[in-house]
Symmetry: C4
Subunit: 230 residues, 4 copies
């Protein structure tokens, strides 16, 4: 993939989370990776979204060395890079502080699969990581955040559950492309809102059956998907 295309895709994913109401001020960031070259484009740190251009996206190599761009990358860059290393099928990552997904992350609780809206996108609960230790926080914090996510997905397929809640922090989502990651961030926020209300209505609720989870997930994903047009 040409770099201008990658940067344009990353800009567009950044703007999608703004359009969908997931962003306050300069919160949040999107990145994308070109798997052929391993180059990653990411939002610059603390720049207003309404003045951002594709050229502002910072391009770095897999080790975080800046290849192109005059701005500093998002402070969460090392988290993104760790996820790209550990999850080879993903092509884009979104980090937001969207209201309800962040509240779930702050609670340290996974979001149960309470219904089919959830099952259409996430093939099981959206997991919350363990809290980071003081040593992890005081050391390479952003890298260690990535490692905590990767540990949490031990035994899980990141493509079947393309979202995580970092305990005490906020969500990350991903997808095959930056825009798919942004789409998943929007869905996660909506699912988080409804799960909050559901958990208040039914504190003893445990979520849908495995059969319903499978039915809805595989109606939209995989070889036997029937949703949408060909």
């Amino acid at each position: 993939m040409k770099l201008p295309l990658l940067r344009a895709q990353v800009l567009e994913a950044n703007l999608e989370i703004v359009r969908r109401g997931l962003v306050l001020y300069t919160f949040g960031n999107a990145s994308g990776i070109d798997r052929e070259t391993g180059l990653v484009a990411i939002k610059p740190s603390g720049v207003p979204y309404d003045k951002m251009t594709a050229e502002d996206m910072v391009v770095c190599d897999p080790d975080g060395k800046i290849i192109e761009g005059s701005l500093k990358p998002s402070s969460d860059l090392e988290t993104h890079l760790e996820l790209y290393r550990a999850f080879p099928a993903i092509g884009g990552i979104i980090h937001t502080h969207s209201e309800f997904a962040t509240a779930w992350a702050q609670s340290g609780l996974s979001i149960p699969a309470f219904g089919t809206t959830h099952a259409d996108y996430f093939h099981g609960p959206v997991p919350a990581t363990a809290e980071l230790s003081d040593a992890e926080i005081q050391g390479e914090y952003e890298l260690n955040t990535g490692k905590a996510i990767v540990r949490r997905f031990s035994g899980l397929d990141p493509m079947a559950t393309p979202a995580v809640l970092v305990a005490g922090h906020a969500p990350f989502t991903w997808g095959k492309t930056p825009m798919e990651a942004a789409h998943n961030a929007v869905i996660l926020e909506y699912v988080a809102r409804m799960a909050f209300t559901t958990s208040v209505l039914r504190p003893d609720g445990t979520g849908v059956s495995q059969a319903l989870l499978d039915r809805h997930y595989f109606r939209k994903h995989g070889a036997s998907a029937t949703y949408g047009q060909k």
Copy 2:
């Protein structure tokens, strides 16, 4: 009714649920039936609302055989068809994942008739279905969803309570026309929001008296209705 008119009505009902904030991305669907011919028009599956035209509405016969239209119908078609077969007085159906009605559906709880806003439209609680069995989910799922709704309305008048919550899933509403079904979907979401707040304020609340339910319902419906202009 001419098919172009039916398709136009179904498109308009689809757009109404978007305008009223009940839709995220391509969620939800509207359909309408011509009772003379038995033909049903329904939203195509997974098509963006802002590009949808009346011609995109898929027309099928009562058995779901496509009569007109080049797109695939909504994956919930069989649920709609079952409701049209069982409830002969209805002319339109809406399915949404609107936030609070869906949260109630996810909780598996019926929405009590907590006040006159509810009573103006629904002559009793908005019922939640039983959960589907694994066999029902793994078999003809969408048809079985329709059957679960119909079973739940055994002994209930679907025109007096034109809405249902499918447990673990989301609401369906209906009406004499597609637009009336859409109107009922908007009201249901509003009633669901207020019922959530009411149930938190008064966990022991049981809802209004039968006398008040009757008074408000029959002020707006039936032969002795006095609401609105002649």
Copy 3:
């Protein structure tokens, strides 16, 4: 006051509750009274707000006999008339089904004076009426609703607490003019939202001290008010 002016004021108050997000579809109604002649202008029943003109306002005498206007008046007319008879200082009335005020009304609970925002407008809790008896509901329901409000204000000054929650139904507010009543309806909804959150955070909360209630109320109302410009 000339009738065209009264009708214009009533139209403007109706539109204010729409602009401020208190109205879904044709819900709610505003009225105003000319105290010299006793004539009341009120919104017509079930007419869309976006097509409403001042000429559509229905004018009736204190007994509800229509004097001018070709449309049917709001079905809540008799409630308005009873309040005008009982509360001689008021010049306008608003009825809404605004989300949080209605949820409090559905709960049958008065809204405690949890803070200074409340105290700036309401000199004590916003009272909830008793539930109407079956006989009251099955008889002259709208008139009896007014009587239940008036009974609830026995010993209360309606100008110091220009709002009420009708149990199982929704709020009414009033003021010296229709627009002041609309303003109070907007404030009531905001106060109801915050009181909901407060009551969840502090289920044991009882509200502000009488001293703080007095201080804020009299900073904005009465002879010693200091708020605003001269």
Copy 4:
């Protein structure tokens, strides 16, 4: 600083809280101080925001004596002046009745540091003051409100936690400039919303570790800050 600049900055901060949805009608006020001269500019009392000009800002000396401007200053002026006297590093103050921050203030509870969004701006819980005594309320109320805030910050650095909840009332925020104070008011409201949801999901939650609080706070503030562009 020239007075026209100070007035323009204060106007802009007033408008920012309107743009960000923190204001209903004429609620709230912003002020700024010129530390060289000690002059303070503040919003006039009860004037509609949409007609407000920089010239409408009232300028007074540190004792509240009006130096320039034909309008009455905000009734909260004495609270602002007390904070400027006690917190010499601040250059602007905002007072709002924003929905969730006000609900926390009404509850009398401090907002725990539940996550990194909070830690990015507030280096510890956002403290709630004690309730004012009847004597404090009946005496110089606005001045005593300021004194209650200052007492609450005994042992706290107002620049590290630029916000307070006045019990039974509402929040005040501050910053090096009026616009920074407005920014903090917007963040406070967002943090308050998420803290509400978090506290419902996890009534036993105590908030993030000191290590995480430090990490995020010092990533954005102080000599070793790395967030944003140079």
